[in-house]
């Protein structure tokens, strides 16, 4: 982590929580947790509430689909930490590791529903080019996605265009797969709050 305060600047209670996490999970505390717990009133609190609503609130998209969108946005931003973290959550949510990995390795040929493919392409364009246009939206609607699905996907995209930027800017460490699997289990059981 590039800022020492994000590694070691937490209060006593939070440090005790980190010790508990390390003991129970037998894994290091992920840097994303250190970030959201640092001065949580400034960023972590309001951002966690927003992300929980986007990822676990009512939506026509499944939890797995939304986690896949998060991983896809992160991959488009070339954020290794968030890509691996949310690919692991999508894999857990789907109960099918192949679906998440196929889609992230080649969206064009992956065997997925057209509304999801078209929505992911829209999120990829928005993330890469910072803009989309009415014709892009019409294309996604023509592929079978509803207006509500597009709106919900844009909320996921917002969250992970924030989080993946912070992961890269603050220099999150990328741990091994066991740590991401432990994190995925937590996020599937408890969500983002």
């Amino acid at each position: 982590m590039r800022l020492r305060i994000l590694d070691r600047g937490h209060g006593f209670g939070t440090k005790a929580l980190f010790a508990l996490i390390r003991t129970v999970s037998r894994q290091p505390v992920l840097d994303v947790i250190k970030l959201v717990k640092y001065r949580a009133d400034f960023y972590g609190g309001p951002m966690s509430a927003l992300t929980h609503e986007a990822m676990r609130g009512p939506s026509p998209w499944s939890v797995g689909d939304r986690e896949l969108m998060a991983a896809f946005v992160a991959k488009t931003n070339q954020c290794e930490f968030c890509t691996k973290a949310h690919a692991a959550v999508a894999q857990g949510a789907y109960g099918d590791g192949k679906r998440a990995s196929d889609l992230l390795s080649d969206l064009d040929t992956a065997a997925i529903e057209e509304p999801l493919r078209a929505t992911l392409l829209l999120l990829g364009k928005l993330t890469r080019e910072h803009a989309v246009h009415a014709d892009d939206i019409r294309g996604v609607l023509a592929a079978g996605a509803s207006r509500q699905q597009i709106e919900d996907a844009l909320a996921v995209c917002f969250s992970f265009n924030v989080i993946s930027r912070l992961a890269d800017a603050f220099g999150f460490s990328v741990p091994g797969p066991e740590a991401f699997e432990a994190g995925a289990k937590y996020l599937l059981a408890r969500g983002y709050r």
Binding site: L6, P46, A131, I137, A155, C157, A169, G171
Partner: protein, 102 residues
Amino acid sequence: MSDIKQARASLVRRILEGVGNASPYERRAAFNNTVLDVTLGTLVDKVATHADRVIDEDIAAARESGFSEDQVFEIVVCAAVGQATRQYDTALAALEAGTRKE
């Protein structure tokens, strides 16, 4: 997701208008990617446009130019939320235009 707009507004209001170590002016400039200071502006622009290219030296340079770690933390958060907000607002406008009845 009826609460998303409210949650997003709460986040933006907190980081821009709430108590912080960086001034409201500095946080707003980071959010808008309009920071005038060259060193800090370089970091903010990287966060907004190519966060994967931020390097240790970018953060170190901001610290050496007089910003505390807490100020850098706040400014980087504002830069990230600002860029994501511009993308999101652009996409919502496209959604409105793309679903408008002629």
